[in-house]
């Protein structure tokens, strides 16, 4: 066991080992894709049922990100990415509530391993810089020299600490929460861990929101006019 991960490789796909986290993520992706596909399979002008709920959710996210990021075209462009982050992280976090998670090897929320969260953070980094260059062209480089060129090292350091803090925040929260529930189950097997699991329902949701909002605000800062 290497710091927070069970080394349970299920099978090999060519030279690449596939472990339980990857399989869990495939399951989450398939579930999300199937729900989205069934909602949009035969779309109607007057929506009802699942399509209605999805349209409401999409409009709500557009409004939410527009309010958060000020520029509407940027918000519309990056809302799908950010909402996907939200749904994927939410489902990953909640997959830790399946009975047996965190103390049986093979049942573990993917976000409690920092290899998973660092990938999400790196996607955010690419999105931030691509958005910055598309919005400002080469003038985006001025962003590193603001407010004056002496701040260059600090601005560069910031580019490293942003993804690092995104990674460690999500990973640390989910991993810590899983570990505390596991210790609690070991100490008091009945009833007491239930309170912690109820708290973790709230915490998992907040972490998904926080990751999404922070990614959105990094993109907003990169594309903003005043830097």
């Amino acid at each position: 066991m290497i710091f927070g991960m069970w080394d349970s490789v299920l099978f090999h796909l060519g030279p690449i080992p596939v472990d339980h986290l990857v399989v869990t993520q495939w399951c989450i992706v398939v579930i999300l894709a199937l729900v989205a596909y069934s909602a949009t399979r035969d779309m109607q002008l007057v929506p009802r049922g699942l399509q209605n709920a999805f349209e409401a959710a999409v409009v709500w996210t557009y409004d939410f990100f527009t309010q958060l990021m000020d520029k509407e075209h940027i918000a519309k462009k990056y809302a799908p990415l950010l909402s996907t982050f939200f749904l994927f992280i939410l489902f990953s976090n909640y997959s830790g509530l399946i009975p047996g998670a965190a103390h049986i090897p093979g049942f573990q929320p993917p976000t409690s391993n920092w290899n998973v969260t660092i990938v999400l953070a790196v996607i955010t980094v690419f999105a931030v810089h691509i958005a910055g260059f598309q919005e400002h062209g080469l003038g985006y480089m001025n962003h590193f020299l603001s407010p004056n060129p002496a701040m260059l090292p600090l601005n560069l350091l910031e580019e490293i600490t942003h993804p690092l803090s995104l990674t460690l925040r999500l990973f640390g929260n989910i991993f810590g929460e899983e570990m505390i529930i596991a210790y609690m189950l070991f100490l008091v097997p009945f009833l007491v861990p239930f309170a912690l699991m109820a708290l973790s329902v709230l915490l998992a949701f907040i972490q998904a929101i926080v990751f999404t909002i922070l990614s959105a605000s990094y993109i907003a800062t990169a594309t903003g006019d005043d830097h």
Partner: protein, 74 residues
């Protein structure tokens, strides 16, 4: 050796938690004060409050990670 590692792990998470707790208390209290004074900006303040909490909480989580790493070394 094991004892001092255990002590270090406990101190790492408790000192980090102490600072984070004070910070969150101040931030949350001020945010609620702002919402109570001007309920119409509640939505904006709530979003900002959660972002602030996330930043504060990260520092505590760093302490927690150090504690887990130390416990793993024991």
């Amino acid at each position: 050796m094991g004892g001092s590692i255990a002590l270090g792990a406990g101190l790492a998470v408790s000192i980090a938690g102490l600072g984070g707790g004070v910070g969150m208390g101040v931030a949350g209290g001020k945010a609620i004060e702002a919402i109570a004074r001007q309920p119409e900006v509640g939505g904006d303040v709530r979003t900002l409050m959660f972002i602030t909490f996330a930043f504060i909480e990260t520092l505590t989580i760093y302490g927690l990670l150090i504690a887990f790493m130390l416990v793993g070394k024991m």
